[in-house]
Symmetry: C2
Subunit: 356 residues, 2 copies
């Protein structure tokens, strides 16, 4: 009825009056490390509690020029890998006393309008998890002193920090594993062709296959999308010379490929067809799928991401830093096993050729 005014909330001045001290004293009470006498502090805390006072983070940000918010840009969350990342990010950022401003659910892959928003909120750092950033924008961030971390992505010119795994080595290992398993015809269902992860995974795969004399890889595009992966699988598997081994660029698509292979085309996995995925995400571990998959160490990746952010926020230096972590090929039931090279490692079966 009164037209929508949010009640203004208790201010530090009101608390000060109540406690019989100055506004400064109230501020100092809530500023760790500030000079304040214990008894004054106690008075202030009492008054604050009575009035239900909470420091206004907005006003604080205006003074300190720090919002204590990190923007996380994640275009889609359908692939469970990303919710996992989000959850871990939330955990670690909270531990560092940072809040998480999430940008998701925009279909156009263009992050520029989102970028405007996040700059207006003066975030202290940016994590880009499923989008890249045009080079002008990343330069603008650098100029503004805002650290940016590309998560699970890199750019050619490595001007912006990134956290990735050894995708090329991963692709190579997948190839070695499949070759050792005695496969003859190799397929690849690709992710987004513009993404660095996809290029690297395919590059390593292709390279190792070529080294073993296999130069004819059957490729279809899945764009990291479930529906497109289904289409790609149908196409690839209804060929006469269909592959007996497929490397799918991530588990999210691999699940779809397995469903199509088994239930639409009646193929047995791994007897008729071996499938290897990437990420080692939740569903890969579910026994219905049991996907043999290159793992990405999610927790350590997120740790590295937060470490880079905190470091650059603290130092003010924002030279690009690149953290590249190792994964393992986790062996399950979706692909035929090589005779050697499989070892047990804290409860998981891992493929490590040469250790075998």
């Amino acid at each position: 009825m009164d037209g929508g005014v949010k009640k203004p909330g208790v201010t530090s001045a009101e608390v000060a009056r109540r406690a019989g001290v100055s506004q400064s004293a109230v501020s100092r009470t809530f500023t760790p490390g500030a000079s304040i006498a214990p008894k004054t502090r106690a008075k202030v805390l009492a008054a604050a509690k009575e009035l239900g006072y909470r420091p206004n983070a907005i006003a604080r940000s205006l003074i300190t020029n720090r919002s204590r918010m990190i923007a996380v840009v994640m275009a889609y969350l359908e692939n469970l890998f990303y919710p996992g990342v989000l959850e871990e990010l939330g955990r670690l950022l909270a531990k560092e006393d940072y809040r998480l401003l999430l940008f998701t659910g925009f279909m156009d892959r263009d992050s520029d309008p989102v970028f405007d928003q996040l700059m207006q909120y003066r975030v202290d750092g940016i994590v880009l998890a499923s989008t890249s950033l045009s080079s002008e924008l990343s330069e603008e961030c650098a100029a503004a002193g805002i650290p940016v971390v590309l998560f699970n992505r890199t750019t050619e010119r490595d001007a912006v920090s990134s956290v990735t795994t050894r995708n090329r080595e991963g692709g190579r290992r997948v190839a070695e594993f499949l070759i050792a398993g005695g496969h003859k015809r190799f397929g690849y269902i690709s992710g987004l062709e513009s993404s660095s992860t996809n290029r690297d995974r395919f590059g390593g795969y292709q390279e190792a296959l070529a080294a073993a004399g296999h130069t004819d890889i059957i490729v279809e595009v899945g764009n990291y999308d479930r529906a497109e992966a289904e289409t790609a699988a149908r196409k690839m598997l209804s060929r006469e010379d269909r592959p007996d081994a497929i490397f799918v660029a991530n588990d999210h698509m691999a699940v779809a490929v397995m469903d199509i292979a088994r239930h639409e085309l009646g193929l047995s996995i791994p007897e008729d067809l071996s499938i290897v995925g990437y990420d080692d995400v939740g569903p890969a571990r579910w026994t219905s799928y049991g996907i043999t998959s290159m793992s990405q160490p999610l927790k350590r990746m997120v740790e590295a991401t937060v470490a880079i952010l905190m470091d650059q926020i603290a130092s003010g230096e924002i030279e690009a830093e690149h953290r590249i972590l190792n994964g393992e090929l986790v062996v399950r039931t979706s692909a035929r096993l090589p005779k050697t090279g499989i070892v047990e490692l804290d409860g998981r079966r891992i493929y490590r050729p040469g250790r075998g």
Copy 2:
């Protein structure tokens, strides 16, 4: 080297000087509906572009007493239903020009420390998706004029707004479906026993079963957790009088139950055992599972949530509002089919008893 100072960024005063106008004019240029001459506006926009000016949302919030941020509290994201909610929330909130401050990844189900944070940031609204709120806290929100919406949850005393589906009717329908399918022994794997959804789903199930003379339901607790659901399934299915029909309180657990039943205990689904889930989440549709499941209309639920928030923000009135939506029992392959009652509805098979 210089100890970490984020560059202050361009201010409206600088733009004003550059454009040869007052700071007020700059402000009015970026305030929709403000009184500003087209040519002045053009000058300002030009200067702003040159300098790379973006209005400081923090400073604006301080004046307007609106942060244009909505806090979303979501303890865990492992169940794909919630990432879906998050994505849709992000989409709709962006459309309303609101940002999403996410709180996730805290394991203790207690949301109170989180609550402190979110109040400090003076969010304009709160969505609680996997946590409840102590009654004092919800009263504090009401007093502060901050709308709160419980998503997929309710409290007994309905003092705080909520968006849910007809869980009781859903449970009832599942029971009717399983009875019509000729099942004899009924099991239930429960969600969090303290949650309203779980109570309602079980209540309806129990009620309809009792009406048909089945009063002995075998119950195990899964707490909406995958691992616990696995344990529950093992226990329930290794009994001598194991059920031939299980209602699992959500799909996230139903997937685990199916895996255990099939691959650990060698049961055929639906020949030996029928399974019905809840949510109609992604994996339920994957052909490996094909879970017959009560759907929750995610998009409409999120729509309702945002509508309630926008409404209460605009009006300033925050009397609790309850939106209860309808789901459908989507029939797939995880449960034996009744002879009648299955109809086709925009490409899905739906169970509607009495509709023939």
